[in-house]
Symmetry: C2
Subunit: 113 residues, 2 copies
């Protein structure tokens, strides 16, 4: 390879992906990470360790999305097997996550140049 | 469609794409627009009308990329048929544009959800 080929080989695409509602930002990688935590753990507890966002900030992210969409994406409940309650991604929240993940998968494949 | 389906149908992906060199931002949509202008017109004259960037700013964008990469992506020349000189995208500049356009095309297809 000549110098220009070496330079070219060091170029890589990068991107930021988000979802818009009526043309307005509503859902990005931070919200996805929070919901993925809830999906895996069944609770928002521990979200700081897995995402770097505080528990309060993470709830704020979710509440803002729900206010924009007018639809619940996470619900909390009391009791359950452990007795300590927990959180659950709603069916609509799951559809939102699936849309984001599907597009992201396509972007990652398109980035392999 | 119920209300949630209507809401879901209004969600659309959007993105920002750029190229990185050794992990550092180097080339984005603004630079692509400048180079596309030169490709079509053979000069940087008129770049403000087509991109909204001033002539001086547009040159600054190109020079910064060239400084980062250590490779020329645009060259200027004097004379020519009109006698007024012009600008030309280098072979390396073309490869850069092609890489960006190819990934962008993949992103646009992946966004059609």
């Amino acid at each position: 390879m000549n110098d220009e080929d070496v330079t070219f080989s060091k170029l890589k695409p990068n991107y930021k992906l988000w979802l818009e509602f009526d043309g307005k930002y509503v859902f990005g990688p931070g919200a996805y990470a929070i919901m993925n935590h809830v999906l895996k753990k069944g609770t928002l507890t521990g979200v700081t360790e897995s995402t770097g966002m505080s528990y309060r900030y993470a709830w704020g992210v979710i509440r803002k999305i729900e206010a924009t969409l007018g639809v619940k994406i996470l619900v909390t409940f009391k009791g359950g097997p452990s007795g300590g309650g927990g959180a659950k991604v709603t069916d609509f929240g799951l559809k939102l996550m699936q849309m984001f993940a599907k597009v992201q998968g396509g972007f990652d494949r398109a980035s392999e140049v």
